[in-house]
C-alpha cells in the first residue's frame, strides 16, 4: 500500500510535468523555439483565477477570466516570438521567452506579493480507495493528463493539423506557397500552449500553494523531459516526463528510516537521471536512427 501511495503521488507530479511538456513540445514543433516562459504563463493564469475568485466572482466567470488571460498571454508570446521564429533565431527566441517568464513572475510578485496564497484555506477534499487517497486536484490532473496526452498524440501524428504544425517549422516558405499561413498556425499553437500551461498552473497550485515562482521548477522538469524524450517525439516527451519525475520521487519516497533520502535531494537525482539518459540516448528515448544523406 505504501508503495502504491507513493506511486500515486508521483504519478500526479509526473502528469503535471507532462501537461507542461506537451505545450512546450507543440511550440517547439511549430517554431523550433523552447518557450520557457510557459511556466510563468501558467502561474499567471492561476493568479488570475485566484484573483477573480477572491474578488467574489462566480466560478464560471472566474474560469472565463482566467481563460481570457491565457489567450492574451498566448497572443503576447506570439508578438514576442514570431519575428524570431520567422528569422530562425531560435536561441534569441529561447532568451526572449525566458525573459518573458521572468517579467511575468516579477509583475505577479509586484501585484500580489511573494507570500504564498491558497485557493482553499482548508485541507483539500480527497478521494479514498481503501487505504489509498488522492486529492481532487490530483485526480483531475491525472484524468486530464491521460485524456490530453492521448488527444495530442492523435492530433500530432494522425491529423493534417499536426502535419501542418510540424511543416511550418521545417519550411514555412514552402507551406506559404501552398497557401497556408505559417503565422496563423504558430499563433494558434501559442494560444493552445498558454491555455494548457494555465490549466497545469491552476492544477499544480490548487494541489499545493500559489507563489510567483512556482512555475519555474515545473518548466525546468518539462524542459528536461523534452530533451530526454527527444524534441521531435511527443511520445518520447510524455514517457520522459514520467521517467524524470517517477524515478527521483520513488527513490525519495521509498527510502525510509535509517536510509531515508531527503526531499532536498530530489532535483539532484532528476539531473543525474537526465544525464544518464542523455548520454545513453542523446537524440531522445524513442528516436530511431535515420539514414544521413
Amino acid at each position: 500500500m505504501f508503495f502504491l501511495q507513493i506511486l500515486l503521488h508521483s504519478l500526479v507530479v509526473g502528469t503535471q510535468v507532462v501537461l507542461l511538456a506537451v505545450p512546450l513540445y507543440l511550440v517547439y514543433s511549430s517554431s523550433k523555439i523552447f518557450h520557457l516562459g510557459l511556466g510563468a504563463t501558467g502561474i499567471s493564469v492561476a493568479y488570475a483565477l485566484w484573483f477573480a475568485l477572491k474578488s467574489g466572482w462566480s466560478l464560471p466567470m472566474a474560469i472565463i477570466f482566467a481563460l481570457i488571460c491565457a489567450i492574451v498571454l498566448g497572443i503576447l508570446s506570439f508578438a514576442l516570438l514570431e519575428k524570431l521564429a520567422k528569422k530562425k533565431e531560435h536561441l534569441f527566441g529561447l532568451l526572449v521567452s525566458f525573459s518573458f517568464g521572468l517579467c511575468l513572475e516579477a509583475i505577479v510578485a509586484i501585484m500580489f506579493g511573494t507570500d504564498g496564497k491558497f485557493f482553499l484555506t482548508t485541507p483539500l477534499p480527497t478521494i479514498r480507495f481503501s487505504e489509498l487517497y488522492l486529492t481532487f486536484p490530483g485526480v483531475a490532473t491525472l484524468i486530464a493528463g491521460v485524456i490530453l496526452s492521448v488527444l495530442f498524440l492523435i492530433i500530432v501524428a494522425k491529423t493534417p493539423w499536426g502535419r501542418k504544425m510540424k511543416a511550418v517549422s521545417e519550411n514555412s516558405y514552402l507551406l506559404a506557397s501552398l497557401s497556408f499561413n505559417a503565422g496563423t498556425v504558430r499563433l494558434f499553437v501559442l494560444i493552445i500552449a498558454s491555455v494548457l500551461a494555465g490549466f497545469v498552473g491552476i492544477m499544480t497550485t490548487l494541489n499545493s500553494n500559489l507563489t510567483p515562482n512556482a512555475g519555474f521548477s515545473v518548466i525546468v522538469l518539462a524542459f528536461i523531459a523534452l530533451l530526454v524524450g527527444g524534441v521531435n517525439s511527443l511520445k518520447g516527451t510524455i514517457l520522459a516526463s514520467y521517467i524524470v519525475v517517477l524515478i527521483p520521487e520513488l527513490i525519495v519516497g521509498l527510502s525510509s528510516g535509517q536510509y531515508s533520502i531527503s526531499l532536498s535531494w530530489k532535483m539532484v537525482i532528476v539531473f543525474v537521471v537526465a544525464a544518464i539518459f542523455l548520454t545513453w540516448k542523446p537524440n531522445g528515448l524513442l528516436t530511431r536512427k535515420a539514414r544521413v544523406e
Binding site: 511573494t114 483539500l124 519516497g253 525510509s256 531515508s260 532536498s264
Partner: protein, 433 residues
C-alpha cells in the same frame, strides 16, 4: 521681485510669461522661495534651450510643470523649526517579501507604532529617530545586500535585524569592526553566540527550545522530526537530536526528514514519516506559508491518531492553527515564556487596534521588538551615534523589559531567557508552564 528680475533678463516672451506664472504660484503657495534653486532652474532652462532639447512651445510648458514639482517636492523652504533635532537613522532588516512576509509586515507594524513615542522621548535629548526598512527576504544573500545598502548609502550605524536567523548569521561577520551594531529581536540560531562582538539578539537561543523540546518528547519512545531546510530550523533540529542522543537514550528517532525551503508538496515525506508510526512528531517548518501547507497536507493524509504533535514558534500564531484543527488541536508548542506583564498586554492591544493584528509574532517576539527598540534608542540617546560606546553599555548593564526583568548580555549574545510550553486548545496556543 527676484523672479521678475530674472524674467526681465530674458528677451523671450514665452519664458517671461512662464516666470510670471511661477510668481503667481509662489504667491499662492508660500511667501518665501529658495533663490538658489530657482536660479539653477533658470540656468538649466537656458542651457536646454541652447542645446535645442526643447521646442519653444514645450519649453513654455516645461517651466510651470517644473515649478509645480519644485513646490511639491519641498524646494520651497518651510518655516524654520523651533529647535534643530539630530536625526539618527536606524536600519531595519526584516522579511518584507517571500514566505515569511506576513511576519515581516507585523514586525514593521510594531516599529511603526513605537516610533512616535520614542521620538517624543528623544526630543528632550535633541534627537529624533528614523527607521529605514530593507527587505532581507529571510535569506542571507538578500540580508547582506540590505546591510550594504543601509551602511554604505544611508549611513546607518545601528540595525534592528535581521529577523530570520539566516539574515542575522549572514550579516554578523560584517559588523566585527564595530562600524555597525546589529540587534535582532527574533533570531535564535545558537550559531549567533559569539558570531560577532557587535551582534546581539533579544530572542532566546534555540538551545533552550531544543532542550525543552527534548525533555517533553522524551516521554515518548518513538519520535519523528520533519524539518524545513533553513538555518533556523536546522539549528533547532540539531540541538534536539543532540540532546535526545546525549540525555534520553531510550528515545528512538524513527524518522528525521528534511524538505527544501518553501517546498509546496510534502506528501511523500509525510507518507514516509507516517509509515514509521511515531508516537510523537515534531513539526519544524519556517513561519508562514510552509507551516500552513504542512498541516494542511497532514490533514489530507488523515489517520494521525496515536501520534502527539509538537511544534515551535511557527505554530504559536492562530492563523496557522486554524487551517487544520484536526492536526493542530492538542499540539504541544515550545516557545519562550509568555509575557503576562499588564503594561505589555495593554501596549500590544493598542498596537493591534492601531495597526492591525500581530498575532503571528506571538507575545514573546512582540515584547522582544518593543524591548530591543526601547533599550537601544535609550542607549543611543545617551551615547550618541557611536556603535562602540552603545555596545559597551549594552554588555555592561542589566535592563528590565517585557521579556524579562534581568536582560543582560554580559557573557552572551543572547539574553538569559528560558523555554515555555504551550498547548493548543480551541485553536489557540495556551501557556502551560
Amino acid at each position: 521681485m527676484v523672479i521678475r528680475s530674472i524674467a526681465d533678463l530674458s528677451s523671450r516672451s514665452y519664458l517671461r510669461f512662464a516666470v510670471v506664472e511661477m510668481t503667481i504660484w509662489r504667491a499662492l503657495f508660500t511667501k518665501t522661495m529658495n533663490l538658489a534653486k530657482m536660479t539653477m532652474l533658470y540656468l538649466l532652462i537656458i542651457k536646454f534651450k541652447s542645446m535645442k532639447l526643447f521646442s519653444q512651445k514645450s519649453l513654455a510648458l516645461l517651466v510651470p510643470v517644473l515649478a509645480v514639482v519644485l513646490l511639491l517636492s519641498g524646494c520651497v523652504s518651510q518655516p524654520p523649526a523651533p529647535k534643530a533635532l539630530e536625526t539618527i537613522k536606524i536600519g531595519v532588516i526584516a522579511p518584507m517579501s517571500g514566505d515569511a512576509a506576513a511576519v515581516g509586515e507585523q514586525i514593521k507594524k510594531v516599529f511603526d507604532y513605537l516610533l512616535p513615542s520614542i521620538n517624543e522621548t528623544a526630543k528632550n535629548e535633541g534627537k529624533q529617530y528614523q527607521f529605514i526598512y530593507e527587505d532581507g527576504k529571510c535569506a542571507g544573500s538578500e540580508a547582506v545586500a540590505a546591510y550594504q545598502k543601509l551602511t554604505n548609502i544611508d549611513g546607518v550605524k545601528f540595525i534592528f535585524g535581521g529577523m530570520c536567523s539566516s539574515e542575522t548569521l549572514a550579516i554578523a561577520p560584517l559588523t566585527k569592526d564595530g562600524s555597525t551594531l546589529v540587534v535582532s529581536s527574533l533570531s535564535s540560531n545558537p550559531a549567533l553566540e559569539g558570531a560577532s562582538p557587535y551582534t546581539f539578539t533579544f530572542s532566546y537561543s534555540d538551545d533552550v527550545m531544543g532542550k525543552t523540546l527534548a525533555k517533553e518528547m522524551s516521554k515518548y519512545e518513538r519520535v519523528a522530526l520533519i524539518t524545513e531546510q533553513t538555518d533556523w530550523n536546522i539549528g533547532i533540529q540539531k540541538v534536539l537530536l543532540d540532546e535526545l542522543k546525549a540525555n534520553y537514550p531510550k528515545v528512538t528517532v524513527v524518522a528525521n526528514e528534511v524538505f527544501p525551503k518553501g517546498a509546496t508538496d510534502i506528501r511523500s515525506t509525510l507518507e514516509k514519516v507516517k509509515k514509521m508510526a511515531p508516537a510523537a512528531l515534531f513539526l519544524n517548518p519556517a513561519p508562514g506559508v510552509t507551516a500552513e501547507t504542512l498541516v494542511k497536507q497532514m490533514a489530507e493524509l488523515k489517520e494521525w491518531t496515536g501520534c502527539t504533535m509538537f511544534g515551535q514558534t511557527s505554530y504559536i500564531g492562530e492563523s496557522n492553527l486554524k487551517v487544520a484543527p484536526e492536526i493542530t488541536e492538542g499540539m504541544i508548542v515550545v516557545d519562550a515564556p509568555k509575557s503576562t506583564n499588564s503594561e505589555f498586554v495593554t501596549l500590544s492591544g493598542e498596537i493591534e487596534t492601531a495597526k492591525g493584528t500581530i498575532s503571528d509574532l506571538g507575545a514573546y517576539y512582540s515584547a522582544a521588538i518593543i524591548d530591543s527598540t526601547r533599550i537601544m534608542t535609550k542607549l543611543i540617546s545617551e551615547f550618541g551615534n557611536d556603535p562602540i560606546a552603545v555596545q559597551k553599555a549594552l554588555k555592561e548593564r542589566t535592563f528590565s523589559g517585557f521579556i524579562s526583568n534581568d536582560i543582560n548580555f554580559k557573557n552572551s549574545s543572547f539574553p538569559n531567557i528560558g523555554g515555555g510550553i504551550y498547548k493548543v486548545i480551541d485553536g489557540k496556543a495556551v501557556y502551560q508552564q
